[in-house]
């Protein structure tokens, strides 16, 4: 796809034949293999895949935190390979918002100051920065918690502060790496809804790398990453934990057999929960199943 075509489609992310290889010879690992990915403005793309499939590597490459071994990465038409370290920092600051698995807030700063800091780095200071931070925290439902330190906030609240921080400089692209992994199901659901709302109302592009099948329902596109390759189908080597609906490898040892069907769990606690009322969870897992 030419640059002109890219712009006519209003592409925010363009990955063309991107590969990432770690190590050499015997220790050589191909994390991404000739990957092509184009994402348009206002699109929400979910990338799923098992642990070690290269999801985080892909997010780091799109986020200008890691250079690909080969291939070209463009954000809003800018080729990242042509930018210096300092310009890459600026691009991350202005064009990309990050949401991590851990909220990664600065422990010494209040919720408001955590959001303000990113604005300050971008040269926005004083009242304007304060008002913007307060507005964003209000947007994520934390108007009453602006003066609290991260340690005084729940996991879900911290993640909402992280979302406000990601939105601070009005980036065109939001990258999220397992944003609901550390949250309970209810809080995780709220965060997913919030991200969906941001995508649709603010026309931002969102790329989420996750195991969480619930996010699949709100995405415009779901891509499967396995062995460093992206596809729109998933392989047969994975199962859904019927309790938490996480995608897990079938090699897991925490399994339970009900009426000749084998169910796989991400943890002992999910398996215990399942054994209390298997039918309830079996029905649920059927509803959430991904078609092959």
């Amino acid at each position: 796809m030419s640059n002109q075509d890219s712009h006519s489609l209003d592409l925010v992310v363009e990955l063309d034949h991107v590969s990432k290889v770690y190590g050499h010879d015997a220790s050589r690992v191909v994390a991404l293999d000739d990957t092509i990915l184009h994402v348009e403005r206002g699109e929400m793309v979910v990338i799923m895949g098992p642990s070690g499939s290269g999801k985080t590597t892909l997010i780091q490459i799109i986020g200008a935190l890691l250079s690909p071994t080969t291939g070209c990465v463009k954000i809003n038409g800018t080729d990242l390979g042509e930018l210096s370290g300092k310009k890459l920092s600026k691009l991350r600051l202005r064009d990309i918002g990050f949401i991590f698995q851990n909220p990664n807030l600065l422990a010494a700063l209040t919720a408001r100051r955590n959001v303000e800091l990113v604005l300050n780095l971008n040269g926005i200071k004083g009242d304007l920065a304060r008002e913007t931070a307060l507005r964003l925290l209000d947007r994520v439902g934390l108007s009453g918690r602006t003066r609290h330190l991260p340690a005084e906030l729940s996991g879900g609240e911290q993640q909402r502060v992280a979302i406000a921080r990601a939105l601070a400089n009005s980036p065109s692209l939001i990258l999220a790496d397992e944003p609901t992994a550390n949250l309970d199901s209810k809080t995780g659901h709220k965060i997913i809804e919030m991200m969906k709302d941001i995508t649709k109302t603010e026309e931002r592009t969102v790329i989420i790398a996750t195991h969480d099948l619930r996010i699949r329902d709100v995405a415009d596109r779901v891509l499967w990453l396995e062995d460093g390759r992206l596809s729109s189908h998933w392989s047969n080597g994975y199962a859904i934990d019927p309790v938490c609906l996480m995608l897990i490898g079938k090699l897991t040892k925490t399994t339970s057999e009900v009426e000749e069907d084998v169910y796989h769990f991400c943890s002992e606690s999910c398996m215990r929960e399942f054994t209390k009322d298997p039918q309830k969870y079996i029905e649920r897992s059927k509803l959430g199943r991904i078609s092959h």
């Binding site: 985080t56 997010i59 780091q60 986020g63 935190l65 890691l66 370290g85 300092k86 920092s89 600026k90 691009l91 991350r92 600051l93 202005r94 990309i96 990050f98 991590f100 698995q101 851990n102 990664n104 600065l106 422990a107 010494a108 700063l109 100051r113 800091l117 990113v118 300050n120 780095l121 971008n122 921080r165 400089n169 790496d177 992994a181 550390n182």
Partner: protein
């Protein structure tokens, strides 16, 4: 600025310990410099407050405190007759190792001409210095250590004197100065000799002119100006200690750098992940370096400022209980301390710069 301050506030106890460490370092620096200044001033006082313009010694004697100068008393009249000489006074300054209350003590006998007052006490703590025969002024540190007071009698080498005053700034690290009339002091020296003649120069003459005339007129004598003699005193008594003073001050400063350096390094290491977060969201290495530099500067400035305020007060309290702790602190020293504080802040902020540059922003993707 705000992040640096809040990081420090977040680690209050660690910062407080570091500031206490820097204050101790300032204590060491100021004490060493203050001891140097204290003894230097005292040596200066011994000469510059004598009222003399010229110091006459036996030939070859340097004019210093330990000089083996011995001059016949009978040249006093010859000196008085030299053109340009206004006043001539003999002065005995003679070390004496003696026993006081079963303790061996080194005294400096300072026997001066009570008529002219030249070479008499330069600073009194209490009492008076109008000595008559059989009276003495002793150093206040000696008085406090051996339990003497004004009105008491003190026996020195079987001679008894009545204490009429206590002198200040007359403790010279290894010895205490006692002041006697010249006639009383003569009994501690050979008959018919003195150590110095102090000469004041008449109006209309220069020190150089009179000095030259004395050397031309009287054989086997040397003449030094007051400033030359003061320098000789300082060089002899303090000169040997200067390398030690500077070395200990240097150690104090290095201890300060070490404390701040360790703290800044430790905070940087502890905050590696947070710096990684900042890098990931778009902060440059320079942004992070600025945070570290401000942290280092704040700790240095606080440590050195608190030290500069607390240490002089602390020294003053110590001196109340330990009078021989002869430490003088002046504004210049405090300014130097502040300069060192600024320098320390800059130096210690350089240390973690490499570490910051190496922080991988991808750290933030690893779950803790």
């Amino acid at each position: 600025m705000s992040l640096a301050l809040r990081n420090l506030y977040h680690q209050k106890s660690k910062v407080a310990i570091s500031i206490a460490g820097v204050t101790l370092s300032v204590f060491l620096i100021l004490t060493m410099s203050g001891l140097y200044l204290g003894f230097s001033t005292m040596m200066d006082n011994m000469v510059t407050h004598s009222g003399a313009d010229l110091w006459v010694t036996s030939e070859g004697a340097s004019g210093s405190l330990h000089s083996p100068s011995l001059l016949p008393l009978n040249i006093r009249e010859n000196l008085s007759n030299i053109e340009g000489v206004d006043t001539v006074s003999p002065l005995i300054r003679q070390p004496l190792s003696t026993t006081l209350k079963d303790d061996t003590v080194l005294l400096y006998i300072n026997g001066y001409d009570t008529d002219t007052g030249m070479g008499g006490p330069w600073s009194m703590a209490s009492g008076n210095s109008d000595l008559d025969a059989g009276e003495i002024v002793i150093d206040k540190v000696l008085a406090s250590q051996y339990g003497y007071d004004i009105g008491d009698n003190i026996t020195i080498e079987e001679k008894e004197f009545k204490i009429i005053g206590l002198s200040d700034k007359s403790y010279i690290m290894i010895a205490y100065i006692i002041f006697l009339s010249f006639d009383d002091a003569k009994s501690f020296l050979l008959e018919g000799v003195t150590n110095y003649f102090l000469v004041s120069v008449a109006d209309g003459f220069t020190d150089e002119e009179v000095s030259a005339s004395i050397v031309d007129t009287i054989t086997d004598v040397s003449v030094s100006t007051t400033s030359e003699t003061a320098k000789a005193y300082k060089d002899e008594v303090i000169g040997g200690f200067i390398p030690v003073f500077w070395m200990l001050s240097g150690i104090g400063y290095l201890v300060g750098i070490q404390i701040i350096g360790v703290l800044i390094h430790s905070i940087t290491m502890e905050n590696s992940k947070e710096f990684g977060i900042l890098k990931a969201v778009g902060a440059t290495n320079f942004d992070l370096y600025r945070v570290v530099a401000v942290q280092a500067f704040i700790i240095s400035a606080l440590g050195f400022t608190i030290g500069s305020i607390v240490v002089p007060v602390l020294i003053s309290i110590i001196q109340t209980y330990v009078p021989e702790f002869v430490v003088e602190i002046d504004l210049q020293m405090i300014m130097q301390s502040s300069f060192l504080g600024t320098l320390t802040g800059l130096l210690t902020s350089i240390l973690p710069a490499r570490r910051i540059a190496q922080i991988d922003p991808a750290l933030v993707f690893k779950e803790v």
